[in-house]
């Protein structure tokens, strides 16, 4: 089977039409030293069955669930995805590649986005959600840029308990701007040190993640209050939205902007992406919010309809004065989360969150009894830090070889936390799994 639709004759014909003799002529504007003169180093062509064998072989090198027992969260969580979600998501009407500009053609897609915005705003206790961004880390960066636009102040405070990779994305986003980043230290209990906030008046925003990178629930209400006294906006970030099935949401605790990662809500982990960037704010700041926004309205006959709204902030109308360069969203992932949330319902969400919490507490208690130390006393959701007995590092590799990934070692990201591991337990783990983990780890 040929994959290239043009014959040599077609190509010669096209070249002569535009008045050149060789395809290489098209690339002459690229400096010679930026072009390679060698052939690309690619393996020889394969037959389809040879290629299939190769791919199978490669895929066997992956550690996949459920064959591997993975206790890793840290921003990406293993949750059961109901078949209803996967099925509805595969409907061809939804698997479309482009943003719906034309309401007369795209009512279904627009309604799906509108429902996503509604569900997310309710889950987080906020007034408005945009149609989604790429992932939690870039959502945090956009939230901070938004705070800079609103307050016209040019510095932000980030809690050092925010996911280290999120902080790196924020650094990358803010690097070309004049905005400076300062870190708030953490306490012995694993939370943001609120005492260091007093008197810090010249900042656009204070950003805190809860549960934070170490799984600890932050005291958002008190942090938000101090932040507001200082004249800054309070940005609440999250990596595990299921938390808000059990704990109070950031909106009800005084956050001005709530942002985070929605992968937990029915999206497969897929070795790191695609994710779902969630960004919500208060109604008064909606004009500073980046990204697409769908609104509900009525047509001239009074019938309900959905349409992109507040588009005047956006690049295609406002050009270089646009609120941001974000002109797209992760619609399919947003849809997955809407189906997931609608499938669970309010009660289901609360029950599932409780299950995650209870299983995590079970493991925490068992590990403690078996002699491990839980260094941070703050409450947690489905993730916590444990200090393992000396010499665990070798055992960790041994367990991994046998299909048990006992959390992630924190030493690489936080050198002070030598021999500390971040462990995540979700509903997918059984009591038997947890008991086995404790036995394996402590004997």
């Amino acid at each position: 089977m040929r994959y290239l639709p043009h014959t040599d004759a077609d190509i010669a014909d096209m070249l002569s039409t535009i008045g050149i003799t060789a395809i290489d002529n098209l690339f002459e504007t690229i400096p010679a030293d930026c072009r390679t003169s060698q052939e690309l180093s690619l393996p020889d062509p394969m037959t389809e069955w040879e290629l299939k064998d190769l791919m199978t072989e490669l895929s066997q090198a992956n550690a996949t669930l459920p064959e591997t027992s993975v206790y890793v969260g840290a921003g990406s969580y293993d949750h059961f995805i109901p078949a209803s979600a996967s099925y509805l998501l595969s409907r061809s009407e939804f698997v479309t590649s482009y943003t719906p500009y034309q309401p007369e053609l795209s009512q279904g897609t627009l309604q799906a986005i509108y429902e996503y915005q509604t569900l997310i705003a309710r889950l987080l206790g906020m007034d408005v959600s945009n149609a989604s961004l790429y992932d939690g880390a870039s959502a945090l960066a956009e939230a901070l840029l938004m705070a800079v636009r609103i307050t016209k102040k040019n510095a932000v405070l980030l809690s050092s308990t925010i996911h280290p990779l999120y902080r790196r994305v924020v650094e990358t986003y803010l690097a070309p701007t004049d905005c400076t980043i300062e870190l708030l230290p953490m306490t012995q209990t694993g939370e943001t040190d609120a005492t260091t906030l007093s008197g810090k008046n010249d900042y656009a925003a204070v950003a805190v993640q809860s549960p934070n990178f170490f799984g600890c629930i932050e005291n958002l209400a008190s942090l938000a209050e101090t932040t507001h006294e200082n004249g800054s906006l309070f940005v609440a970030s999250f990596t595990e939205p299921l938390t808000f099935g059990l704990y109070k949401n950031p909106g009800s605790l005084g956050a001005d902007i709530v942002c985070g990662e929605g992968q937990s809500l029915g999206i497969p982990r897929s070795f790191g992406g695609p994710g779902l960037g969630i960004l919500t704010c208060r109604a008064k700041n909606v004009r500073h919010m980046p990204g697409r926004l769908v609104g509900k309205t009525v047509d001239r006959e009074g019938r309900r309809g959905f349409v992109l709204t507040l588009a005047t902030r956006e690049q295609h109308i406002r050009r270089e004065k646009a609120t941001s360069n974000i002109c797209t969203n992760n619609s399919l992932c947003a849809l997955a989360s809407s189906i997931y949330l609608a499938s669970l319902g309010g009660t289901g969400l609360a029950e599932l969150a409780r299950l995650n919490y209870d299983k995590t507490e079970y493991l925490k208690t068992k590990l403690k009894k078996a002699g491990c130390t839980i260094p941070f006393s703050a409450p947690t959701f489905n993730e916590f830090v444990v200090a393992m007995p000396d010499g665990f590092r070798e055992k960790y590799s041994g367990l991994a070889a046998r299909g048990i990934v006992a959390g992630i070692p924190l030493e690489r990201l936080h050198p002070a936390l030598d021999n500390h591991y971040l462990i995540c337990v979700t509903e997918t783990k059984t009591k038997g799994d947890l008991d086995k983990l404790v036995t394996e780890v402590t004997t």
Binding site: R287, T312, R313
Partner: protein
């Protein structure tokens, strides 16, 4: 959209090239946008107002006005410090459309240089400019 001779252009205000108007009100200068500007923008849905106490130079952007189809910047026709903003526009931005010189005023400033206003166009000069642009 209105023809130039259909525009309502007040005699007692002065006009800037960016279609703002300015009018003395005691020591203060009241600022809005002209009938031409509101007509070009269409239905206005939001006016982003500056903070009281902020100071802007002549020609500096002090806010934006958003219609259903565009967002336009507002520029100071006269430099000065913001004394009052028209809070009525929060709930009724359409006042800029319906009464551009009265209820639809946007800000009131204490001018840095009271002579600035003399540099602006009177009604006739403004009409002339609009005709040249047309």
């Amino acid at each position: 959209m209105k023809e130039i001779d259909e525009l309502i252009l007040d005699d007692d205000v002065r006009y800037a090239e960016d279609h703002e108007w300015a009018r003395y009100d005691g020591d203060l200068v009241r600022i809005g946008i002209s009938d031409y500007a509101q007509d070009q923008l269409g239905d206005i849905v939001y006016v982003d107002l500056p903070e009281i106490g902020e100071e802007f130079a002549k020609g500096e952007e002090f806010g934006t006005v958003e219609s259903v189809k565009a967002v336009s910047e507002l520029y100071m026709p006269v430099g000065g410090k913001i004394v009052t903003v028209n809070d009525d526009l929060d709930d009724a931005p359409e006042l800029v459309n319906t009464e551009p010189y009265d209820g639809g005023w946007i800000i009131e400033i204490k001018p840095i240089d009271p002579g600035d206003i003399d540099d602006l166009m009177d009604k006739d000069a403004y009409i002339e400019m609009l005709k040249e642009g047309a």
